[in-house]
């Protein structure tokens, strides 16, 4: 008799199917818009600079390109685009199959259900990384020269930023893959988690913020922020962040636990009941 695919083989085959599904999903247009917006902002900032209009000043001083780029990475990408993409795509990985009632075809194959989660998750990761990282690179190339910033000297920082964003996409994706596998209306739950829980928990002093992904991600952001009262408030968040190494470990831990929980949920849940 034919042997069933191994876990790795099954994961790779689910990945193949899922990449196509993700690229053609209803959410693709949203992802394109989400990553195009920062490029448009960068174009406007660069054009303003070229016309001699300083786009951003703090205490009368023009903010340099590298600092602007750092602000965009933190405020736009890490705090908005990455969690939102994680929410939209992560929650859809399993929930769309359940909603479309196509999950039966996957569940009636000789593969472990965990391979379905991992295969789909990897497809999500590849798709989002392939879209987000080029967008960041484009923004970097447009913004860094503003105020005389040199691309060559700040390039290592770009690589670190790309790594942080990839890690952010990976962790948020895993968390929301679990939410999508566990919760009936996962998109709503995901948005509440990102724009409700994470925002509130980060502002409350104490241990609450340790139960957010953003707390560990912010510790990895290497940019110096411009000096200003409002910006100092943002900076204070950074100063309370844990060391980078332990943040990476925490993030990897969250990723692994969330994926294991998603796989366990898929293994034990009767999705037919929800149809």
């Amino acid at each position: 008799m034919r042997r069933p695919p191994t876990f790795v083989n099954a994961t790779a085959r689910v990945f193949d199917v899922a990449v196509g599904q993700l690229l053609w999903s209803r959410r693709t247009m949203f992802m394109v818009l989400a990553v195009t917006a920062p490029i448009l902002i960068a174009v406007i900032l660069r054009a303003s600079d070229a016309m001699g209009v300083s786009a951003l000043r703090v205490n009368g001083q023009q903010v340099g390109g590298p600092v602007m780029f750092g602000g965009m990475i933190w405020l736009l990408y890490l705090r908005f685009i990455v969690p939102v993409l994680g929410t939209f795509y992560g929650t859809a990985l399993i929930a769309d199959e359940v909603e479309d009632r196509t999950i039966t075809y996957l569940f009636t194959r000789p593969i472990p259900r965990g391979a379905i989660v991992v295969g789909k998750y990897l497809a999500y990761l590849v798709c989002t990384i392939l879209v987000v990282l080029p967008s960041v690179t484009a923004v970097y190339l447009l913004i860094t020269p503003i105020g005389g910033g040199g691309i060559g000297e700040t390039f290592p920082m770009l690589l670190i930023d790309l790594g942080i964003l990839a890690l952010g996409l990976a962790v948020y994706g895993a968390v929301f893959a679990f939410v999508g596998a566990r919760v009936p209306r996962p998109l709503v739950a995901g948005l509440v988690l990102v724009f409700g829980w994470e925002q509130i928990a980060l502002l409350v002093p104490g241990y609450l913020r340790r139960f957010t992904v953003a707390y560990y991600l912010q510790a990895l952001v290497p940019h110096a922020m411009p000096q200003d009262d409002a910006v100092s408030a943002i900076e204070s968040l950074f100063s309370q962040a844990p060391p980078a190494q332990s943040s990476v470990l925490w993030l990897l831990g969250i990723l692994v636990v969330a994926l294991c929980l998603a796989a366990h949920t898929l293994q034990t849940r009767e999705y037919v009941l929800e149809q």
């Binding site: 008799m1 034919r2 042997r3 069933p4 695919p5 083989n9 099954a10 085959r13 689910v14 193949d16 199917v17 196509g20 599904q21 053609w24 479309d100 009632r101 196509t102 039966t104 075809y105 996957l106 569940f107 009636t108 194959r109 000789p110 593969i111 472990p112 259900r113 293994q267 009767e270 999705y271 037919v272 009941l273 149809q275």
Partner: protein, 325 residues
């Protein structure tokens, strides 16, 4: 046929390690919260073709979803091919499942979809392509292999769904309403295909709420009602009962008036009504009607018939009568 009873089917076989059986259940129950989907069912389904017949809500789909490992039993035990099925993916090497729902990856072509599913069965790329083509050929979809499933007609979608179930040549097939929505010619071909499949020594459990469909495949049926097995055995007695009740057939045709003209002249048709491109026919003799319909579709005398379905409530009256008696 075993006499109808409101209690557990009198003929249900005691469970055991019977190698000639494909499904063995022992006091199997499934609850959906407070609602009972399947109620204390102990039965043995032997090799060959077995039809599950019952009106909407009888518990057919619940039983099939338990058999195919999509649901976990609330109580009791279930073995398929002498193995537990819940949490046992290896069993799908030996089992093919054709679910009821009309759900697909619409952007994929029929060939791509079958290949993807065959690769999940453990087939390598080249092998998957060859096997997928063979399965599509079996259901007469080879010409449409490179067409997107989203562009398939209802009947084609039913056939591609059947193709994914048979492609890996399983020894046990579970089919939930496989003929629903097919045109008369596709029905005839599919019935032939499934009969041939069974003749090769493979087993099939097929559910339907249309006796005519089941009867075309097997005389061995399980009657289900309200989550219980009412009776099991030969089809003929219930057939007589069903023939006494009017049977409604819904058809979607290119020229509904022409189809109606052809149909109305026959004594087996009690009434005909229209709704857009749909024709609803009430017949007292469904066997005769379906046979004539297939002939008309084959010789083209009624124009093109796209889809034939039978509403769920046809069996309801008969089953209520059986339960009361």
């Amino acid at each position: 046929m075993t006499a109808p009873t409101t209690a557990m089917a009198a003929s249900a076989t005691a469970p055991g390690a019977d190698v000639s059986s494909v499904v063995v259940t022992d006091h199997l129950s499934k609850w959906y919260g407070q609602v009972i989907g399947l109620n204390d069912v102990s039965l043995t389904i032997g090799r060959g073709v077995t039809g599950l017949l019952g009106p909407n809500g009888a518990g057919k789909s619940t039983l099939l979803k338990l058999i195919t490992g999509q649901l976990k039993a609330s109580k009791g035990s279930l073995k398929v091919l002498d193995q537990p099925v819940w949490g046992n993916p290896a069993i799908y090497l030996r089992m093919g499942v054709c679910p009821e729902q009309d759900a697909f990856y619409d952007r994929m072509t029929g060939l791509e979809w079958l290949m993807a599913l065959l690769r999940l069965q453990g087939y390598h790329d080249g092998e998957a392509r060859e096997t997928a083509f063979a399965a599509l050929e079996q259901v007469d979809l080879k010409e449409a292999a490179d067409k997107r499933i989203g562009a398939y007609s209802k009947g084609m979608r039913q056939r591609v769904k059947l193709a994914q179930a048979i492609a890996h040549q399983p020894e046990f097939l579970v089919l939930d309403e496989p003929l629903s929505g097919m045109d008369p010619l596709a029905r005839r071909k599919t019935i032939r295909l499934l009969r041939g499949w069974a003749a090769d020594g493979r087993s099939i459990v097929v559910s339907s709420h249309v006796l005519h469909e089941i009867e075309a495949l097997t005389s061995n049926i399980l009657l289900m009602h309200n989550g219980r097995v009412l009776a099991e055995g030969n089809v003929h007695q219930i057939r007589d009962l069903i023939d006494e009740h009017p049977h409604t057939v819904r058809m979607r045709a290119k020229d509904p008036r022409r189809l109606a003209r052809e149909l109305v002249s026959s004594a087996d048709v009690l009434s005909v009504r229209f709704e857009a491109d749909l024709v609803f026919v009430e017949t007292a003799k469904p066997d005769m009607f379906y046979a004539r319909l297939t002939e008309m579709a084959a010789n083209g005398s009624s124009g093109e018939i796209f889809e034939v379905t039978s509403p769920d409530d046809n069996l309801q009256a008969v089953f209520e009568y059986l339960v009361k008696s």
